[in-house]
Amino acid sequence: MYYKFRFKKEYIDDEPVYRPKIKVILSHAGKSKEVVAVLDTGSDLVYIPKDMADYFELDLSKSKKVGQGVAHEFHYYTTKIMVKMEDRHHSYQQLVSTIVPETDVHKDVILGTEFLQDFAITFDYPKRTIKLTEKTNKTG
């Protein structure tokens, strides 16, 4: 089974750029929200902004760790959140390890390897479509 999405046209100055943004449902502690997330095959985990973790009342790790961003190190907490995708015919959900920065490094929800590893993913830049095909046989 697969899920199809489209690239979102955004801008750098006045030049258009197309970014892989999909809809997922985040939920925890009886709260659930549909949000847009960017797919990033170069990120190890899932990333959410601090205020989002506060809204969902996530249990953050007691100790902070140090991560490496593109330009700077940053301090983050770890937690888990339920991420769900659905369409008219089927749904997929996974409790994923998530990092929450002490102070926001990025402002978007980022879905990295921790989430993406359950899928074969096709980024079709000419057609500006994204296809996530759920793997039926998962191996370690």
Binding site: I12, R19, K21, K33, E34, V36, S43, D51, K107, D108
Partner: protein, 63 residues
């Protein structure tokens, strides 16, 4: 048209730098962060499936 399809196909640049909630081809909530918009949605559209997203600044993004 779903909220996601509306988001993908619509220029929302007037909300650059803001978080927005989208429902029925309309922006129904605006705020400075996710939490602010989510709480507005809970207050005004509790039973609706509102899509929440940030409209990014027009700058280079490297994740």
């Amino acid at each position: 048209m779903s909220e996601y399809d509306y988001y993908i196909s619509t220029d929302l640049n007037q909300y650059t730098g803001k978080w927005v909630g989208i429902l029925n081809k309309e922006v129904v909530a605006v705020g400075k962060n996710f939490k602010e918009v989510a709480e507005k949605v809970d207050k005004n559209f509790a039973r609706k499936k509102v899509l929440i997203t940030r409209i990014p600044e027009k700058v280079l993004q490297i994740l």
